[in-house]
């Protein structure tokens, strides 16, 4: 009896293999479908390599290459701020009181700066390995809209006690600065560990957190710092969307700057690290000192460098702008592959040859999915590799991504094309009419993304991008999103609400549902 079961199992496998081969032959012998598949790949490549973007990196002589400094973790960083500092050796602590933070933004109108503090403007105390950009540091600070925080080594960010400052809606705070109660900040160093603390009265201190800075030398630069990052606002005008923004600057008012616990010295001097065109250029410009009160003005940010509207350059996802076009082609081919059978009754011949209808559907899915995967793989590989070169040669800064990320983006895009075709196949088998199925597939895949990009408010847009098949585009996200860096993390720039494989799973879920429903309906219906 076991022998018979084995034979049946083998017969099943052979039958499926035959069906698979039949479906592959069916596919490759229709010139229109093969051409369309190739056209989809060509579209992806053409849109990825088009010279539409221009930048200025490397275009203004040898010194103008965009090469951001690199932090201790290997990531690219922005490191620009005004520093009122001195060198201190060994362990110790430094304390200061922040009495005000005001700011100014450009871009409010032609040449008229607006008053306002951006949410991530920073003023506080800083301990840094040196004045070189990208060196290790720890800072305790007061921000424009996020309260007191401890940040270190660019990517780490800890919040102070809640309620320290009311958390404002992200966006520019118009007309002024933070509330007027002064706040005390303290930074203490002990060997490799730096602790940040804050207080309302200078007596009772709350520790925000501690940072381990492995590369901190014995002598470090310590002092007050102020900086204020670029701000970006979204502009929605129907099908036009874009970002508006510009640089900003902030002025922090400090007093009671003292050192203790081993650190002594009063030889503070102002410096501007990472001079920016819109901020003060020299230490002298940035400092106003009246007795005990120090007013520092600074512009820039101490944070990881991000791609997109609020930051510098683009990520490698930019090369894959044509994916949507390829996806539409994949959807049309996937649909037509099954609806063509119903047109002239070919479906009856198919089911005579292979009575297992679910098997036929699986074979079709395998054929169309496999074909789209392979062509997508080739197209994505070509465009990710070559597209970066095209962009760079045009002077656009492309954030390099580790090879594993590049592979994930390429393979993920190919898989998204494959699953898109399979989803369309399922819809085609369900609806049987090619036109309805194609429309359903295209609208399902593209419309939520389009609406999210243009008309919808941010919450609705992010919800749609989690739930609709277009969530799978998250596999193309090549740059991480940092909450402490204010930027426009829009899908167009390659930022998605879900993690890559989570987004892919959403599309896989849609495709699975469509295919299962199709299999069930196919079995019950007359051919």
């Amino acid at each position: 009896m076991t022998g018979a079961t084995n034979v049946t199992g083998l017969a099943d496998v052979t039958a499926f293999a035959n069906t698979l081969r039949a479906e592959w032959t069916k596919f490759r012998t229709v010139r229109g479908w093969v051409l369309a598949t190739v056209a989809g790949a060509v579209l992806i490549v053409v849109f990825g390599l088009q010279p539409g973007m221009q930048g200025s990196c490397g275009k203004k002589g040898p010194g103008s290459e965009c090469r951001p400094p690199v932090g201790p973790g290997g990531e690219e960083v922005t490191d620009s701020f005004t520093f009122f500092h001195q060198a201190l050796t060994g362990d110790g602590s430094v304390t200061a009181r922040v009495t005000g933070l005001t700011g100014q933004l450009s871009g409010g109108g032609p040449d008229r700066p607006r008053q306002g503090v951006v949410p991530w403007a920073k003023a506080g105390l800083l301990v840094k390995a040196g004045t070189g950009q990208g060196s290790t540091y720890a800072a305790v600070m007061l921000t424009g809209g996020h309260g007191a925080r401890l940040q270190y080594d660019y990517t780490h960010d800890l919040a102070g006690a809640p309620g320290a400052v009311p958390r404002l809606v992200p966006g520019v705070v118009p007309g002024g600065g933070t509330r007027n109660e002064p706040r005390w900040l303290r930074l203490s160093r002990s060997g490799d560990t730096v602790t940040g603390a804050e207080s309302a009265d200078g007596v009772r201190w709350t520790t925000i957190g501690a940072a381990r800075l492995a590369g901190l030398p014995a002598t470090a630069q310590v002092g007050l710092f102020v900086t204020s990052p670029q701000y970006a606002e979204e502009v929605h005008d129907g099908l036009e969307s874009g970002a508006m923004g510009g640089p900003s600057r902030a002025t922090g008012t400090f007093d009671h700057l003292t050192t203790g616990d081993g650190w002594t010295g009063t030889a503070w001097q102002p410096d501007v690290i990472g001079v920016r065109g819109d901020g003060p250029a020299t230490g002298a410009e940035s400092l106003e000192r009246t007795g005990d009160v120090v007013r520092l003005t600074g512009s820039g940010d101490i944070a990881p460098e991000v791609a997109g509207a609020g930051g510098l350059g683009v990520s490698i996802s930019q090369t894959l702008v044509g994916t949507f076009a390829g996806l539409i082609v994949a959807a049309v081919v996937g649909c037509v592959f099954v609806t063509a059978e119903y047109r002239r009754g070919l479906v009856r011949t198919t089911f005579l040859a292979s009575p297992g209808r679910a098997r036929v559907l699986a074979a079709k899915a395998a054929v169309v999915g496999g074909t789209m995967f392979v062509t997508g793989l080739v197209a994505a590989a070509v465009v990710v590799v070559l597209g970066q070169r095209v962009l760079r040669s045009n002077g656009v800064y492309v954030h390099p991504a580790p090879t594993s990320t590049e592979i994930r983006v390429i393979v993920g895009t190919a898989a998204v094309l494959a699953l898109g075709a399979v989803l369309a196949l399922g819809l085609g088998a369900l609806l049987r009419r090619g036109v309805t199925a194609v429309t359903a597939a295209v609208v399902l895949i593209v419309l939520p993304y389009l609406l999210a990009m243009t008309v919808l408010p941010a919450d609705a847009a992010r919800w749609l991008l989690r739930v609709s098949p277009a969530a799978a585009f998250a596999v193309q996200q090549a740059a991480p999103e940092y909450p402490q860096v204010e930027s426009l993390y829009t899908p167009v720039d390659g930022y998605f609400p879900l993690a890559p494989w989570a987004g892919f799973a959403v599309l896989a879920g849609w495709a699975a549902v469509a295919l299962t429903a199709a299999a069930v309906v196919l079995r019950r219906r007359d051919a």
Partner: protein
Amino acid sequence: MRTALRAEWTRALRAEWTRALRAEWTKLRTSPGLPALLAAVVVGTVALSAAVAAASDPSPGTDLPKLSLTGVQLGQAVVAILGVLMMGDEYASGMVAVTLTAVPRRGRVLAAKAAVVAAVVAAAAAVAVAGCVVVGWLLLPADAVAARPAVGSVLYLVLIGLLGLGIATGVRSSAAGVGVLLALLYVLPIIAAAVADPDWQRHLRQIGPASAGLAVQAQANAGDLAIGPWKGLGVLALWAVGALLAGAVLLERRDA
């Protein structure tokens, strides 16, 4: 003598056009799927507008009429199907041969179809846009009702239907026609947004059928539009006319 002949000729021509139009109208009104499609235009448009209006908390300065007419972006997909099917279905069943034996003047066939599509879509679009206006009046703050965006949206949908008809005549397949048209309408704006060079972006927005056509929905003083409202609709009209002309030439020259 000549005037009599000319009058005779004019009368005969008018009679032929009447017959072609009547035949196409009968064909369309006896299609079993038509009522469902028209209902889908209206329902899809109004539903999406209502959903978006209910979910938004518009800040001052938002273009309210345009927001209330968001549904047109879904309704256009159904209108696209309608326009494409008008010709694509005939090729699918082979009935195009019968049509062309009944009316051998092929340009006339296409023109009659275009007239019928325009009339039917205009009617459905008028109902749909009226629904959006009501939705805007109910769910959004005041000023969500404006004449130009509404009228322009109806014209927009009519032009989309005609564009579909022209494309289907060219590609002779419903599925391919719908695929091409939806890609033009939906994917082109996405690609335009992703191309970060502002000049390219502007150009793509000026020539894309959807982005240009929907400019008619924008408020008059919206500063940063890529193209003016009526100009944008004109661009879409060029697309539709171009597709119909190309379709007519191909129809005339190709074997049926």
